[in-house]
Point group: C2
Chain length 228, copies 2
């Protein structure tokens, strides 16, 4: 068992004041005392929950979205491709390449959200006769813990499909994008040499001022290929 150097001491929240808000995001200043009694502050951006104009005031992590790590296997069980999406991200001011992802609806399980996003964005679904399974779901993982309490949940989904069903006129994909996903396109990339392919793709469209890699996609690819 891994032992901590010291226990995770409790922190006492003193105040949580709003510094601004829109319809989707709100900005807060949190004050708290550390275990020695020293008063400290931090600024936080929170997503505003559906049905609330106040933003999440509660401390603690919350799963806002799923990232769907979409692995395509052929009928021999070999993992061949990963399905990614490219879209314009107004918060970035650029396009990004990411795992398919989206906000989890109220009352929706993360697995359901993952399969829904996969159907909408990529066009894979058991409805269309595809073989799709969720192989695991997980706890919240922090998007950017220096700024926000917003968390993702990484859901790994395996889809069984032959290469000729992925590309070209016989593609079996059938996406149904929402109106605000006007910029979204799918990129189905070979797993082998993924990092290099991502970098070549980025270079071919003008570099990172035009297309930025999502940090979860990048570190996943790094973990696969770095050989540690």
């Amino acid at each position: 068992m891994t032992a901590l150097e010291k226990p995770l001491a409790n922190v006492k929240i003193i105040s949580d004041e709003k510094r601004g808000n829109g319809r989707w995001l709100s900005l807060h200043e949190v004050k708290f005392t550390d275990p020695s009694g020293t008063e400290r502050g931090w600024e936080v951006c929170r997503r505003i929950s559906p049905g609330s104009k106040e933003g999440r005031i509660n401390s603690g992590p919350s799963i806002d979205a799923v990232d769907v790590i979409t692995i395509i296997k052929n009928s021999r069980g070999e993992a061949t491709h990963v399905a990614l999406v490219i879209q314009y991200r107004p918060a970035m001011g650029t396009y990004t390449i990411e795992f398919p992802s989206g906000l989890v609806d109220a009352e929706e399980h993360v697995s359901e959200a993952a399969l829904r996003e996969l159907e909408e964005e990529v066009g894979f679904s058991v409805k269309y006769g595809h073989s799709v399974k969720v192989i695991n779901t997980f706890d919240p993982i922090a998007y950017e813990p220096g700024i926000t309490n917003s968390c993702s949940c990484a859901v790994v989904v395996e889809v069984v499909m032959e290469q000729e069903q992925l590309f070209g006129p016989n593609s079996m994909r059938n996406p149904s994008l929402e109106e605000d996903e006007w910029s979204l396109q799918v990129a189905i990339l070979p797993l082998q040499g993924l990092l290099k392919t991502l970098q070549e793709l980025q270079f071919s469209v003008g570099g990172y001022s035009k297309l930025v890699l999502d940090s979860r996609l990048y570190t996943w690819a790094l973990g696969r290929e770095l050989g540690y």
Copy 2:
């Protein structure tokens, strides 16, 4: 070469209005027209640049911080451990476990920032006779492209150190924490079985309401172990 389904069309920014700000973060509403001429809006949280009270108004990604993927190798060249940090994150309202990380100072190269953070947070440095090398640096990667233009840069650093130099009374680590890093502790975990170790550690302290895994750490570990 991977071909896009459609080119990455230019987007015209119409306006960028502030909806609130603190000392470190600001909230904006961006309006833009998509290639069909439809006007759209999005809310954005930006970090406020040092020396500026206005926040970054420019569109486009910016490297704000480094994540230092710190691999420990023994003198036989075998990668044995990864160095992580656990700290209280006021934005999350919980502790997190992450790669060592920190903001890049003005005029600092990301490699310099990575080695500085490694020295401060973990206590590894060539200054102390450790063998440290940066094996690659990369472009910005998006922290949470749905919310913010803030980007990280993942820097892989290899440190050569024997197991007996990592732990216990003969530990050669010499961290020098900043005052606001009162909660930070190092966790040096074996690479083998990392995902399981992370989940056991999380469980042992009370689950994700107490300790949340950073999404870059989690997907990196998933990429290493999932076998795709």
